[in-house]
Subunit: 308 residues, 2 copies
Amino acid sequence: MNEFKLIDRYFNWACYHSVSLGVGDDCAVIDATLHTQTVTSVDTLIEGVHFPKNTSAADIAYKALAVNLSDLAAMGATPKYFTLALTLPELNEAWLSEFSEALKQLSGEYKLDLIGGDTTKGALSITINIIGEVEVGRALLRSGAEVDDFIYVSNVIGDAAYAWQQIEQGDRPSDFCLERFNRPTPRVTLAQELVGVANACIDLSDGLQQDLSHILKRSKVGANINIDAIPLSDEVSSYINTTQDWCIALAGGDDYELCFTVPEARINALKMIEKNLGMTLTKIGVITTNQSLDIKGLDKTCTSYQHF
Amino acid sequence: MNEFKLIDRYFNWACYHSVSLGVGDDCAVIDATLHTQTVTSVDTLIEGVHFPKNTSAADIAYKALAVNLSDLAAMGATPKYFTLALTLPELNEAWLSEFSEALKQLSGEYKLDLIGGDTTKGALSITINIIGEVEVGRALLRSGAEVDDFIYVSNVIGDAAYAWQQIEQGDRPSDFCLERFNRPTPRVTLAQELVGVANACIDLSDGLQQDLSHILKRSKVGANINIDAIPLSDEVSSYINTTQDWCIALAGGDDYELCFTVPEARINALKMIEKNLGMTLTKIGVITTNQSLDIKGLDKTCTSYQHF
């Protein structure tokens, strides 16, 4: 049983209140006022699971907040507030000071308020619950993809997984890949621009194959992906050329780029966004009717990240 | 440095948004609409710290939600939604099924929606972020106590700490005390009745001495407590009579009863509440000007619960 079946089996009940979207998308969406919806998400990072043991307090703080910002981004929402549940093995003031500074800096960039929290003693872990807002009906959902939509990915993918693989093997990743792993950029601005342009959107936390499958399942569609179109950095491209290990880009997570679908009629609008933001958005395939994910050019099966 | 200094030093910044109350009360309060405020709080329970290793999945689920409900209760707020971040050492379906059932049952009692979550692999811990609502300006705050207010405690206190102490010593607590420890009743109904009657309120999670001190500090007042007035169960009363260990009631946490202050003019209203709810509310002292907590009849210093 994977995480998604687990959630569906044990934690997916009917709602009592005006919850537009409960368990199962990047965030939950609650009707707040006539004009706005409250969007919320929670993510836990655990030492040794989501970041290696020797990660700096500043990098941990950055990533803990960034992955939550990324979930909000994937909805096209504006970040507003967050709570922090911090579990620490000991009270280390130097560590806390560095953690706090980095958290304050990143939250300040997005005018995000820390409004509450809890500190407990135990194995190092950080749980952030982020709260944002979106105009009613404007959230970017996993369920909106339509047949013939083009599928896009922002920037490049695979760098974070490549860094993680090298760390696991006892090698030192390049500064570039380590930065991509430790300091992913949440695509908040891009996602806000995609509202009204993209039909569906998700952030790539568990890997393209698994995350795109969530869009397909929720939208009840399929996809054809052209493996040669997947955008890669020079470093990951060179690694894949040597090893043919496409799974680093398909099943490696932690990039926090966006994967989204856009109908042909709005491609010009998308090109304007690309130009305005100075960001590369790459078409990697198309939505189909056949309810499966076909990756042209891949001659093996990649094992996606499993939470258990 | 205790938890409260830690929070104040590292996690208490100015806010960007309409946060009526940020870090430092039972919950944060955000202006949601002209008429309602959003109230939110987060609490983590860790195996071996907040519950013993052999605690049942059902008891863990119950307590994880109950302590968060208790924080909302202490604000006089109505619970609406929660998110769950669940860290598990392994995927055990029997455990998950029991956990899920208990969580569903307690959340159903309060018409509380589970709207999102995260599951991760690691040492067992549960972080719940609860979200509720209160009418604008009606939240019960720690900061509202006024000189000459009477100080009250709901029901009895000390049972949970007595159970915990026995478990730590390898003894088996009575069913009564174990139930009070594992299954505290969040005082949601009482607190909602106290809106407009009590001037200040807090839930007793860390022990009367420490939690009442938060009210005193925030309200810039002091208190005189009469130790003989503190409401005790027969079992704890008998234990204290034998040992003179008043600290079990003063510094032991985990009862999740409410401590609140009421001005003399509203004592009759309070007596009506007591009668309607069939619940004992005991006057234990009075708010004073002298900015210290004086406990008449206590001839030693109790060490309150420290998070580190």
